[in-house]
Amino acid sequence: MSSKKLFEITDQPLSLDEVAARVNRPNCGAITTFAGVVRGETVTQAGQRSTDFLHYEAYAEMAEPMLAQIADEIRAQWPKVEAVSILHRIGRCAIGEASVVIAVTTPHRGDGCFEACQYAIERLKAIVPIWKEENWSDGQVWVEGPRQPELALDIPRG
């Protein structure tokens, strides 16, 4: 188990047990996990919308080091965090399948594992170069996340 990577972009199905096992440490008594799963129905201002499946694309060579960077940020903020693992799926994901799984372990539950786990998913969504394309029966669209001003380029006037 220790040979498994902690930060991975993969086209294989994800499991919470698997990501939790990657952070299990003998000196730790708390593991928090998070799974983001593909939602089939979204309520929008225009009414309910159905998704058939999502397709994820990543800049994997940049994304994996950025996942490790998020773990470094977590350890700076919650020094008792012993290990963080973040696995993200690419390719086609069916409704109900996990697209991302995260596990954080600490010696005790009050050592920041809950907060760190939430921090990990929020940062991932803001800075890690992964994109999703929503597919319905009659079309598809790339979802763009909210603009992060510190990352955005000043676009030359065209």
Partner: protein, 88 residues
Amino acid sequence: MKITVRLFATLRQQAGWKEKIVEVPPASTVAGLMAQLARDEPNLALTGRTLYAAVNMTYAKSEQVLADGDEVAFFPPVSGGSPGRNNA
């Protein structure tokens, strides 16, 4: 000098390619490379939208000066992870 340009998501689809070696003048910047792409790739919409760039897999700003052999990626705001709050 030679720059490896990589595109993702909508940009990749618009351009019809995901990776290309581009020849640019010495001391070109990210902005200079974008201007060259805007000229040479009519299908690639680089203006009027939010874009991120990375040089050698680190986020970069438009004034960053490039070196021979750099890898420069352009992409829209990232949207990985779980659905989270309603995007609509």
